[in-house]
């Protein structure tokens, strides 16, 4: 809506419009709504939301079941403490269920096989993005065009968004069609395509692959980003790192946003002791630094992507909840909340349709700070060798090149550039999204 048209409407001659209104009242009856019929109809949920609820419940059952079979029925710190009860629990009962089987203590599902723990979280996050993000946009093309018109005014954000979509797609598809880079003796130190380096940097097998002549080796398309000191393909490493960065950033942030927003809205709406308990808990939780909690877990049970997401997603939401609470407290006193109550709305409706959209500034700002910082934290932990040792991430690649920055500079630099651009893009995107979805904001010119 352009500014001109809104001004024009505000300046509508009051007299003529009143006359029209008065005339209208005189000759028309109000629509009679048959409330009894409406009350008698048992309002079920729409097909769409029933499908979504089914998906979520299947997910929750399968994920919960997997954890239960592996950690309560199978051998773990937890099951050791169950004593005689543990003997009664035998993981092999899974075999009796059709379509399921047991694979090394883990439940194996048809088609997907054994799903890694972090992938459970990653998939439900992606499903959530589709259901709450993409689907409404697809269903309301008019609204989508409206937001797009506003969003595209911010060129940097459009480019950032595009970059992130590409990173996501390449990472998501790429890490499924390619295997993880494996170290290979002798293939080390190959430079990226078109880049030359002294041949003593390159391993004996690598010298055959790269274009070597006169003591200088030049990279070829076989290893477009070169190789690491242990002969891993950096190109593959970067692709796999893309998914890891996206997964950690989006999953952990989604989890903490849902928890933070939920806690903030419920405690603000109901107030009283609910608010008191929730936010005293936040106070306590904020005294545990997630980073050290993670270190503790790395040393006690070993680092893994799942634990990393768990820590950042389920422990780090306190600060966000506080920001959202303070914003929601202001909104709660607005007359439109009372108006909604006066219309007969239930608490869930009021929270979803009125409180939530009006604290979205805080939510988006929080997300745009949280995603990059979690991505950076994961990179930092991997750099320190505290990440998931089974997965190649950008932080690991950067760490690999740190001793040879002078000669093999590309090992650290290439993943570093991707990390830099990804973090930057999330920040740009956050700003633009916040402006685009606020109808009062006419957008950056």
């Amino acid at each position: 809506m352009s500014r001109e048209s809104s001004d024009q409407s505000a300046a509508d001659p009051a007299d003529s419009s009143t006359a029209a209104a008065d005339g209208g009242v005189a000759d028309a009856r109000f629509e009679d709504v048959d409330w009894d019929r409406i009350d008698s109809v048992n309002r079920g949920r729409s097909l769409k939301s029933r499908i979504w609820l089914t998906i979520v419940s299947i997910w929750a059952t399968a994920f919960g079941g997997t954890l239960f079979v592996r950690y309560v029925m199978g051998d773990s710190i937890l099951s050791e403490r169950l004593g005689p009860l543990q003997d009664a629990l035998d993981p092999t009962v899974v075999e009796a269920i059709p379509l399921l089987s047991l694979n090394d203590g883990w439940v194996s599902f048809p088609v997907v096989g054994v799903v890694e723990l972090h992938n459970w979280l990653w998939w439900i996050t992606l499903a959530g993005f589709v259901y709450y993000g993409a689907l409404p946009l697809y269903e309301n093309p008019r609204m989508t065009r409206y937001y797009w018109r506003r969003f595209r005014k911010n060129k940097a954000a459009v480019i950032s968004g595009l970059f992130l979509v590409v990173i996501f797609l390449i990472g998501f598809v790429g890490s499924r069609v390619t295997s993880q880079p494996e170290p290979e003796a002798g293939l080390d130190g190959i430079p990226p395509v078109g880049i030359s380096t002294e041949s003593y940097n390159v391993g004996p097998a690598g010298q055959k692959v790269a274009d070597c002549a006169g003591g200088v080796c030049t990279g070829t398309w076989e290893y477009p980003f070169g190789t690491t000191t242990s002969g891993e393909d950096i190109f593959l490493g970067v692709i796999h790192g893309m998914e890891i960065s996206m997964m950690v950033g989006l999953t952990a942030t989604a989890a903490s946003l849902v928890i933070a927003a939920g806690i903030a809205l419920v405690s603000v709406y109901y107030g009283g002791w609910i608010d008191e308990i929730a936010f005293r808990w936040v106070d306590i939780q904020l005294t545990f630094p997630a980073f050290f909690l993670y270190l503790l877990l790395v040393y006690s049970i070993g680092g893994s992507m799942f634990i990393l997401i768990l820590i950042f997603g389920f422990i780090e939401w306190g600060g966000g909840a506080r920001l959202m609470r303070s914003e929601a407290l202001q909104r709660r006193e607005e007359p439109y909340i009372t108006a909604s109550k006066a219309a007969g709305a239930n608490p869930l409706w009021t929270m979803r349709k009125h409180l939530l959209p009006n604290i979205s500034n805080t939510i988006i700002t929080y997300a745009s700070l949280s995603i990059p910082s979690i991505i950076l934290a994961e990179a930092a932990l991997s750099f320190l060798g505290l990440g998931d040792p089974t997965m190649v991430s950008w932080g690991q690649l950067i760490a690999d090149g740190r001793d040879n920055l002078a000669n093999l500079w590309w090992i650290s630099t290439i993943p570093g550039i991707f990390l830099f651009l990804t973090v930057l893009s999330f920040n740009f995107l956050g700003d633009a999204l916040r402006d685009a979805i606020d109808p009062r904001h006419e957008g950056a010119e």
Binding site: S9, V33, D39, G344
Partner: protein, 452 residues
């Protein structure tokens, strides 16, 4: 649902807010925002509730339709007590009763477009048919003078008057039988006010809507209301038909409010009553009649016969003495300045250096009291109290004044009595058993009823 029951009837509605302090949130007091009000609304009738800011009007509005839980009282809608309603029944009740709010800017969710905002009552009441919903909303918008195309626009694109009309459309979406309008026009320009009021009036005629209008503006109330309730500090002091109440107000507070209406006619000076001071704290309301601290017509105690303004001045002095707020030093300084050279330099003037009789004179001047009161027994008390005051015995002076000048207004809560079937008032002045026991009081009442 017999025809004899009113559409909406409120009996002894109370809304108190506890004041909690300390570590264990113990209740240390209560703000009596609404303290026992009763009224009824018939089908198609408009009731106005007027009063100053802070008298509890808005709280009355929200608690009478259970947007806030009332502390006590009964609220009948179509003969059913809505305070007993459970959640489901309450939701049905919300279809019948809608509300519009004072500030049109904040009564719309800035992130919800107008179409959804107007449709909200329908949606939350379970009206699923989207096509028909859009038709209803479009029709409503047109009835309030906007266009159906405005549905997709957001609240910030409309002016205050337009938003208030949209608020009316939203309230009427479920076709209610009662509309509660809390200061519906006070945030609007005067030119737009009447437009919105006319719209409410029209809808009321067409739909047989009952309306409760909350306002501090008597002009608004006079324009659209059939009956008016005047509220002071959580209580109704007078309830009556608009016409009667405006021409023959019985409560001094009503008279004061009426005299505050600006009139374009310079020869018509109103009733010339002016209220001073603020509304007292509702957490600690005055004893007896709550209005007595500001009332221009406080009834003097038996046997004291004073002109009303002198009596008022005595009460003012008494209040100040009890609160220990009489500043003798500054009275002495002012007196010295007015007396001229006699006292030399201003800095040297001290209250205690000045002759008592002289200082008493100045105190009388300060409080606009004559040197000699018309009533001998009153004069005796006053001079005794002033004597005690200037000799530094503030407590003794307070006691003297309290003892002798205590009025029935602060001692006794006035009962609400009916002057005619639908005119009720709560004031000792209308009570013959209080006023009229002595000749002087009869005289006093006669004076009041025919000013000048």
């Amino acid at each position: 649902m017999s025809s004899s029951t009113s559409l909406f009837e409120v009996r002894n509605l109370e809304k108190h807010y506890p004041i909690n302090r300390g570590l264990f949130n113990t209740e240390v007091g209560r703000v009596r925002a609404v303290d026992g009000i009763s009224f009824s609304v018939e089908r198609g009738e408009t009731i106005g509730i007027v009063g100053e800011s802070g008298c509890g009007k808005s709280t009355a509005a929200t608690s009478m339709i259970r947007l806030e839980e009332p502390t006590a009282g009964e609220i009948d809608f179509r003969g059913e007590d809505i305070t007993e309603y459970d959640e489901k029944e309450l939701r049905r009740f919300r279809r019948e009763v809608q509300m519009i709010f004072q500030d049109p800017d904040s009564s719309f969710n800035p992130r919800m477009n107008i179409g959804n905002a107007v449709a909200e009552p329908l949606i939350v009441q379970g009206f699923d048919d989207e096509q028909r919903r859009r038709a209803i909303v479009g029709d409503l918008l047109e009835r309030v003078g906007l266009s159906a195309d405005d549905m997709n626009r957001f609240p910030h694109e409309f002016s205050g008057g337009q938003k208030q009309r949209i608020a009316l459309a939203r309230a009427l979406a479920v076709n209610p039988s009662l509309l509660v309008a809390d200061e519906p026009v006070s945030a609007l320009d005067v030119s737009i006010q009447s437009e919105v009021l006319r719209l409410i009036d029209r809808f009321q005629d067409e739909l047989g809507l009952a309306v409760v209008v909350i306002s501090h503006d008597l002009g608004v109330v006079q324009e659209i209301c059939d009956r008016v309730a005047v509220m002071y500090l959580g209580e109704f002091v007078e309830v009556g038909p608009t016409e009667e109440l405006f021409t023959d107000p019985q409560h001094p507070y009503t008279r004061a409010l009426l005299s505050a209406i600006p009139t374009p006619d310079p020869t018509e000076r109103g009733l010339g009553v002016e209220l001073t001071g603020d509304v007292p704290e509702p957490s600690d309301p005055p004893s007896g009649c709550r209005f007595h601290t500001r009332c221009p017509e406080v009834i003097p105690p038996e046997g004291i016969d004073l002109a009303q303004d002198t009596w008022r001045s005595v009460l003012h002095l008494r209040k100040q003495v009890i609160a220990d707020q009489v500043d003798l030093e500054s009275i002495a300084e002012v007196g010295a300045i007015e007396a001229g050279d006699e006292f030399g330099s201003m800095d040297e003037v001290e209250a205690e250096d000045i002759d008592n009789d002289r200082l008493i004179g100045w105190v009388r001047q300060e409080y606009e009291l004559p040197n000699q009161l018309g009533d001998t027994s009153a004069e005796q008390t006053l001079s005794q109290a002033l004597e005690e005051l200037v000799s530094g015995q503030q407590e003794a002076a307070a006691e003297t004044l309290t003892e002798r000048f205590e009025t029935v207004c602060e001692r006794q809560d006035p009962e609400t009595r009916s002057l005619s079937p639908d005119h009720r008032v709560a004031c000792h002045l209308t009570d013959d058993s209080v006023v009229g026991s002595t000749d002087s009081e009869n005289e006093y009442r006669r004076q009041l009823s025919s000013p000048e």
